[in-house]
Symmetry: C2
């Protein structure tokens, strides 16, 4: 009935709706942080923009707005602290007289406002809030999104609208990945060379960072910075080659992947450098958590450097991993003296690492529970790698604490939550929204809603609505597509291209990179695989229709399916006209041809099925070859309708 | 044949094209400013993005890239200065071996790169530059766009993409309107109250301003700031009421228009304040020109304040305009000592104002030529008010120096050029692109191209291409529309709404304001009049088709026209379904009903015409009533197809 995402803990339908009128006003009582006034004022504008009402009478919600008879009354006990485990609970009570929000902290009240935005409904009387009572609280305290701004830089407007989207689905941690082999993305006043020569001019100034932290804080979102060491540091070594294990000049890395350059853990200058740098950066980010990366050290540059080998021998270290543990133990006091809690990826978890570090788990659920059982607090990112183009359903089914895992009460407490990770090898400011949204809303629900909220079909129904709500908030995951299609069609009619693009998806996991090294920071991301989005709705719907048809033999579905197949069958000649005007589409030609071919096969299969005839074995064998061909990639994309058509052909053979 | 906009001075078709391959590279010889390396590198990426080629071999064009055999060779004599009248000429020579750009300064070379982007063409061999020789120079030296960031604030990403668009059509001045009654939009370290209490948190930091100036400078664009005085200063008087003529507390103005609050020209503190403020701001903007506004002083607060009246009497001033001249004369030394040239709107031109100020003319072409004849340099903005929703053809026909005006050679030299003005009462960051683009490209052509380039139909043909090129560069004037339609349709099918929106335009000139005070800074700009764009192509094309049909009786056109009319006739019931789900569309109901009604009338007229029958007088009279009704506004919009349908009905009566 409702389209709420994430689903609240409890919702009771209680009675009469509250009708929204141009007299809508907001009052706030109690003792909230000032951020609630900012968000309440913004809520006022959003209601105005949605309804078209001129709600100009209350330009800003202020300390003076305390009338308890306002249409929307928000009651908050105390200012929320931007800390892990802060109270984010809220309740909403709607009746025909008033909408009342109650929360311990303004953080809860801000979540309530987002729930209210999603509740706005329409009937013959206009816009209203339905008569419900909602009592809501998060399942996990750490609900994050990691945004990589290194592999491709993401400017301020992307960061800000990403924060808006996060708040809309009740995520509360933005983890910024700020340094890697390709660049260092924050202005350092201690080491200005970092941004001057190791960012190609694309970095956040300290003023920018303060603005991000301020903007996030007003939405109730913490900002956790990550500065990777000791590997993934080519950009730092470009500016300071004397810190490297292998002494040479380092160019900024232009490819993406795992590389050998690494800091020299035997060099005391490395620690004094990191002391200064981390202390400067720690002061810039007020959050208690500080992420030092620690992942993907190949160890090669350590193993091949004599003085480092000598050091390892002298300290009885049997592998480079023990050396990295030594390195991490040296870093820990730096982080601690800045009053921060150290975080790192799985790899920092080695014997001897103190239990007050937090593990971000990316290598598998086993590694995650091992961290937990070993006494570490941890957040789960494995299964939430949204850069890998997997469907929302896959991420949605990935529960940090499923029934199947048996943990003690203490262990359960150490599961802090999870983080979606938006690595930016293959995304640009133009396409990044389409990789984050709407799928991240499904992850947000997994981390917020009760464990038993896991109906995938209902999730998708609500995800489609969430997607539009996110667009209304300013996200570009829908509007970028027609713009890119127009570009790809080079000014000509893009409709045939659109038909094709709606049934393909970019290659998943790490398949987009041929041999891992095809793309660089200079590559064009304006191609077929960039306009194609993950988790296409049309193939999902078509697949459901085929399943239903094969069960029910519904003649209405038969018409729908056949019409769809006809469209695909006839699309290739139209596509070829567009291609004629736009050679960049050459890589799509095979996909278009194959779509046409399997649609033709699907239509023939429909005929067999509807005429209750059995297709001959020769024909079936031919179609199998066709289907196999249709699995080929083109332009680093693949057709998403092979499986449902295969089902039709299979049915024709019975 | 070509789609260049603005049209170059000379273009000669010379021979073989240059085919673009993945080996494309750029060399630069001579002595350009560093900005050319930035833009050449960017050009490299744009070619990669357009063609899909992985041009990763040349990540950046650097000082080392001087090989004279590169596919694109750019030869520049000297660094361009960002000054009025700097040399912006360039030439391009394309043959099968090479593309060669020659320019006196890098400013010319950057224009050449934009011309080259527009030249990229497609044939059976792929992408190529056609074999042409182009020799080009601007007609006017000052080709500007004024962006008002006060009435609605425009964040950095809007400013930057606006600059990108400006460079693409060879505009070279961004005039930023930075203070007015509603806000003061720049951080002042001298008077931090200005941004702290008079901006509602929406202002550019000094770092932001430096970034805008830097970014513009790299594109060859000057940035001229405007800080209005003595009127339009409510935001300053909110922070510093002691500077006002009438002593009281001033709230920030929330309405748009002309208001009485004004600085006290008899108060020496006003001049010491403006001395500090203007000196601080002058240092922030390196351009030689400094705009002090000076417009729309009602004089009322001067006339009604005894000590100001006394001052006027003592100084033998007969009107408040003489007092404003006094004020301006006091401001002039402040501007001069900062090594700036003072600019102002028409109103600053009063007897006694020195001739080294520059007039920006907005009150009519007569005022413009009067300034010129009186010895002032001037730029024309009258006729370029793009906020008034007039068609590109109107602005295009507005020549700063038409044949009809007789001026001496010296006078002609004083015509510096013109500026489109984007006042932001009724635009937000979401809609502003659709008000600036593509129409401003037509104004840019008027200011750049030879006077005899004035074929409106050809302008529109090229404007449609320019519009897509601007989108490819990142402008949102096309992609914002489907996003807004989805919002307006509240998640339901937006197609019927789209049909309607494609034939309406927002009310023009100042008609959108009912009684001038309907809208405030808090009003929703997410309504019908915001998704409707100026200068709709479909009504223009439909009108042309009707004209051609009435001349030729072409049966193909008859079918096209009838099909279009059928679509409109049948749209209202579909629209009503959308409306049912989205009450915000109520204001569109009348327009939809009227569209349906006049389309029905148009179809009947077509029948009369095609059957060579004459419609009866009663019927004709009824249709006239219908047509008159159809001119009514709805949602501050009006139907754009009444005139062509009126033509059909007229023809049916003959």
């Amino acid at each position: 009935m409702y389209n709420l995402m994430p689903v609240p803990s409890r919702l009771i339908i209680s009675g009469e709706p509250y009708v929204i009128t141009p007299d809508f006003r907001i009052s706030i009582t109690g003792n909230p942080d000032q951020r609630l006034y900012v968000q309440a004022s913004r809520f006022m504008r959003r209601i105005g923009e949605k309804t078209g009402f001129f709600l100009d009478k209350q330009g800003y919600v202020t300390l003076a707005d305390t009338s308890i008879s306002s249409p929307l009354l928000i009651k908050v006990k105390r200012p929320g602290k931007l800390e892990l485990h802060e109270n984010e609970n809220y309740s909403i009570e709607i009746n025909s007289q008033q909408v009342e929000v109650t929360a311990e902290t303004d953080l809860g009240a801000i979540h309530a406002l987002e729930t209210l935005m999603q509740l706005v409904s329409v009937n013959e009387n206009g816009y209203y809030f339905p008569g419900v009572v909602i009592v809501d609280e998060p399942r996990f305290a750490w609900r994050g999104l990691m945004l990589d701004v290194v592999l491709h830089f993401m400017p301020m407007d992307v960061v800000k609208r990403t924060l808006d989207g996060m708040a809309a689905v009740k995520l509360n941690v933005l983890h910024l990945h700020l340094s890697n082999d390709q660049a260092f993305r924050v202005e350092s006043k201690q080491f200005p060379q970092l941004q001057m020569i190791s960012s190609n001019g694309l970095y956040f100034t300290q003023e920018n960072i303060r603005e991000i932290v301020r903007y996030a804080g007003q939405l109730g979102i913490r900002v956790v910075p990550e500065f990777v060491s000791p590997a993934h540091t080519t950009a730092i070594l470009h500016a300071f080659p004397e810190l490297a294990s292998v002494k040479k000049n380092y160019a900024l890395e232009r490819y993406f992947g795992v590389f050998d350059p690494v800091m020299d853990p035997t060099n005391e200058k490395v620690y004094s450098f990191l002391d200064k740098l981390y202390s400067e950066m720690a002061a810039l980010f007020p959050d208690r958590y500080f992420h030092i990366g620690g992942d993907e050290n190949t160890g090669k540059d350590w193993e091949k450097t004599p003085h480092i080998k000598t050091f390892m021998t002298a300290h009885h270290m049997r592998s480079y991993m023990e050396l990295q543990t030594y390195f991490n133990k040296r870093i820990l006091p730096i982080v601690r003296k800045n009053h921060k809690i150290m975080m790192g990826w799985d790899e920092i978890l080695q014997p001897g690492v103190p239990q007050d570090v937090v593990i971000q788990s990316w290598r598998g659920n086993d590694a995650f529970y091992q961290s937990i059982r070993n006494g570490y607090q941890a957040i789960l990112s494995y299964g939430y790698y949204i850069d890998l183009i997997q469907p929302a359903a896959y991420h949605y089914s990935n529960d940090p604490l499923p029934d199947t895992v048996k943990l003690s009460g203490e262990e359960v407490k150490r599961i802090l939550g999870g983080e979606a990770t938006m690595w930016s090898e293959h995304v640009t400011p133009e396409t990044v929204d389409s990789r984050i949204w709407p799928r991240t809303a499904a992850i947000a629900e997994r981390l917020w809603s009760p464990q038993d909220v896991r109906d995938t079909r209902d999730m998708y129904r609500r995800l489609d609505v969430a997607s539009l709500n996110l667009e209304a908030l300013g996200l570009k995951h829908l509007s970028y597509k027609p713009a890119m299609l127009r570009k790809l069609a080079n000014g000509y009619d893009a409709r045939a291209l659109e038909v094709l693009v709606n049934v393909i998806e970019p290659l998943k996991i790490y398949e987009r990179n041929e041999g891992d090294t095809m793309y660089t920071v200079f590559s064009p991301y304006t191609k077929l695989a960039d306009v194609a989005t993950p988790d296409q709705p049309l193939p999902r719907i078509f697949n459901q229709q085929v399943d239903s048809f094969l069960k029910s033999s519904s003649s209405i579905l038969a018409v729908t399916i056949s019409k769809q197949l006809e469209l695909w069958k006839d699309n290739d000649p139209l596509f070829l006209i567009t291609l004629h005007h736009s050679p960049i589409l050459n890589e799509a030609a095979l996909l278009s041809k194959n779509l046409s071919a399997i649609a033709t096969a699907g239509l023939a299969a429909m005929k067999f099925i509807q005429e209750h005839k059995r297709a001959g074995n020769d024909w079936l064998r031919e179609q199998q070859i066709l289907l196999k061909k249709a699995q080929q990639q083109g332009g680093r994309c693949e057709l998403q309708v092979v499986i449902p058509i295969e089902k039709l052909i299979g049915a024709a053979g019975k």
